[in-house]
């Protein structure tokens, strides 16, 4: 930092650019306000104060051109190019590849579950807080039991959400049921919040005849029309431009709702990330992009995924308002998502949220993450940085939750899940009629012929098909 002050005030203008790139915290008052005035800029000490004041004060989101107008004399003359007027400088200066300071992380609760003084957040009622905690704990139990079921060979595959319960539940709690969710695959908590039952989750994992997905998809590829949660699709990041399309549709129909889509840190490397964000911004679509930066994309650490300061800095590159939030802080996630959602709907614009968190579990049941990361790293995050424990402390401190409630909830959830799995396992798989349906809206002739042919074959040669094979 010291080097900057040794040079002329041109440094000031370039540093200003850097700070702009590093993003500024936003208060709930979103009117653009310039952060610096000319008089402040001329003094080094005031500049220092301005830096430190950034840490403690929330400043409003500023527009780039506001700064340019208040900049040094040499920038007063402007150049006209397609895209608008630009100030110019005769000093050749490259924007550095990174800011001296990383974008700070918005947080409300400390690690001991106590609200940090002077925090900016949307208050949460007892009823809401208790429900949020219950769902986070239920999600934990669900993850544990389905994971075990896969290990026992009862389901073929599973993806857990361990370590990301706050992102899942708090974001869901902040949305309205009309908001359309396009998930990646690590957000079943959103569906759980909206009312998907444990039995319904189990049915999908077992692919039985009660599965809303008619046994068409691998486990964890949940979807529900009823709860506005689009069926999980395996290719990464395809949901991002699709979310822009959903947002556009909601905008055209003037609905009081937005599209909300999730992506991991790794998924932001996909081309669709660029297309989705760029388009949402150009179309002015009401979309909230939530990036779960959990540090790992299977075995690829974020240091091998990108060289930027995470995802939040990319938002401004697309003209999208962004925030970095502590994804393990349920209250911070709730406030950020709730605010983002309001912005998206009332201002008809996309918003980007980077939720910092950690993937405690393996990528999936096909992965053993101890092969590429230290076991004590996993332990550290599991025990000391656990989002569920952190929120629990806050809820307990408020006198809204007791140990008795805790054991009752966990044992109930466990019992329900075991019953659901036992039931799911026993139920029949979908019948043959569901092999050829839903390819098209109405079955085409060749499909009808194929189904008839297969039915006749099964009847004629039952010995070639497993006993109890259902037609």
């Amino acid at each position: 930092m010291a080097i900057w002050f040794a040079r002329s005030r041109n440094i000031v203008s370039s540093l200003r650019h850097n700070l702009n790139l590093s993003g500024i915290l936003s208060k709930r008052d979103y009117s653009p306000r310039p952060a610096f005035t000319n008089s402040q800029l001329s003094s080094r000490s005031v500049f220092l104060d301005s830096i430190t004041s950034l840490r403690h004060e929330s400043t409003a989101v500023e527009k780039q051109h506001d700064l340019v107008q208040q900049s040094d004399e040499e920038d007063v003359q402007e150049l006209d190019f397609p895209g608008g007027k630009l100030g110019y400088t005769s000093e050749m200066k490259f924007i550095p590849e990174s800011s001296p300071k990383r974008v700070p992380c918005y947080r409300v609760l400390d690690e001991d579950g106590r609200i940090i003084s002077d925090s900016d957040f949307i208050p949460v009622s007892e009823q809401l807080a208790v429900r949020m905690y219950e769902q986070m704990a239920t999600l934990q139990v669900m993850d544990h039991i389905f994971y075990e079921a896969q290990r026992q060979g009862r389901i073929s595959f599973f993806i857990t959400t361990v370590g990301e319960e706050a992102v899942n539940i708090a974001s869901a709690a902040a949305l309205s049921p009309d908001d359309v969710v396009l998930p990646q695959y690590r957000e079943p908590g959103v569906l759980l919040w909206r009312g998907f039952t444990l039995q319904e989750f189990a049915n999908q994992c077992f692919g039985n005849k009660a599965d809303h997905g008619k046994g068409r998809q691998m486990p964890v590829h949940y979807g529900s029309n009823r709860y506005n949660y689009f069926t999980v699709s395996s290719p990464i990041a395809t949901q991002l431009p699709q979310a822009a399309g959903v947002g556009y549709s909601l905008k055209m129909e003037k609905k009081n709702a937005c599209a909300v889509t999730f992506i991991g840190d790794g998924g932001t490397s996909e081309g669709d990330f660029h297309a989705g964000l760029n388009f949402a911004a150009v179309m002015e679509a009401p979309v909230v992009f939530i990036c779960r930066n959990n540090g790992w994309a299977i075995s690829t650490h974020i240091s091998e995924q990108f060289r930027s300061d995470g995802i939040v800095v990319k938002g401004q590159a697309y003209g999208i308002r962004s925030i970095r939030v502590d994804g393990n802080d349920a209250l911070a996630v709730y406030s950020a998502v709730r605010s983002a959602r309001e912005m998206a709907v009332t201002e008809q614009r996309p918003v980007l949220i980077e939720a910092m968190t950690y993937r405690v579990g393996h990528h999936s049941t096909s992965d053993d993450s101890t092969k590429y990361r230290a076991a004590d790293e996993i332990q550290y995050w599991k025990m000391s940085r656990n989002p569920v424990n952190r929120f629990k402390k806050w809820v307990e401190d408020n006198g809204w939750w007791s140990e008795e409630d805790e054991s009752k909830l966990r044992s109930n959830a466990r019992k329900q899940l075991l019953q659901a799995i036992q039931a799911s396992e026993k139920w029949d798989k979908p019948p043959l009629t569901e092999l050829f349906s839903d390819v098209y809206d109405v079955k085409t002739k060749n499909l009808e012929e194929q189904e008839l042919g297969l039915r006749e074959l099964v009847e004629k040669q039952p010995q070639d098909y497993p006993p109890g094979f259902h037609i």
Binding site: T231, A244, S249, T444
Partner: protein, 369 residues
Amino acid sequence: MWGILGRRAVVNGGISASSLRSRVRSSSVSARSYAAAGSKEMTVRDALNSAIDEEMSADPKVFVMGEEVGQYQGAYKITKGLLEKYGPERVYDTPITEAGFTGIGVGAAYAGLKPVVEFMTFNFSMQAIDHIINSAAKSNYMSAGQINVPIVFRGPNGAAAGVGAQHSQCYAAWYASVPGLKVLAPYSAEDARGLLKAAIRDPDPVVFLENELLYGESFPISEEALDSSFCLPIGKAKIEREGKDVTITTFSKMVGFALKAAEKLAEEGISAEVINLRSIRPLDRATINASVRKTSRLVTVEEGFPQHGVCAEICASVVEESFSYLDAPVERIAGADVPMPYAANLERLALPQVEDIVRAAKRACFRSK
């Protein structure tokens, strides 16, 4: 555009563009003996434009998206006038990202709108093929009917003239192999109108393969076809010319070539039945097989690459279902198994010509029991 047709005309042996047009017009009128004799004519371009216009007018959920579709009036002017009429929300000019706007179209379709997505050519759809196959085609099935995708992907497909390998591939076989998609290929103005209207109204994702060189061609069009409620059934082929000696099946631009070949064959006493497939998926196997059972001979023609092509599927279908009716081996005429060269002479050699169809039909006819 006329420049391209002009070059194509030179390739075909030095005929001028206008006389080529009038030749095609006259031959298609004579071939379509049973079609309603309308005195009106319409270009394929106007047919497509009017179809989109009418469907947008009838259903506010229909909207058009693609590069240059709005202000530029469409790269091939298919969407001319729509921006003025329906505004920028419903005629959306996209940035250059096929993956992006295809994904957006799929998302909008998921949410209940009816996008008509234009690819400047289907060659560029390669950059978006994941959205077309893994999202659009499979979503209804994977979600067990909860997510349907009423989207239409349209644009020029196949060879144009002098545009080289990356602008000339025919994607009919690729898209038609995927369950969940419907694939249509119009030939005449009536096909263009009826099939595009059917595609827009269909709740399933439809890949609509046009042909750049056909855009400017005029065809007679009946009063019935000009009506705004006109619609052709998806999955039905059309017998363009009846015959009794050999069945020639094809689609898109090759229909015109097949009709010309039929004229030439008629001069030599061979009566060819020309089937315009119209629908590649679902394929109208019933019409094709019924025709082969009548003529006992099959020549199947396409512009695209030969291996795993549409012709291969038709041959398999006919051999499976009508084997005992065949008097000759099935014949396939397809494009050369090379990326399309640019030089005009090489391009001509790489594509089926009328003479190739005539020779194949003769081969099929002189191989008797």
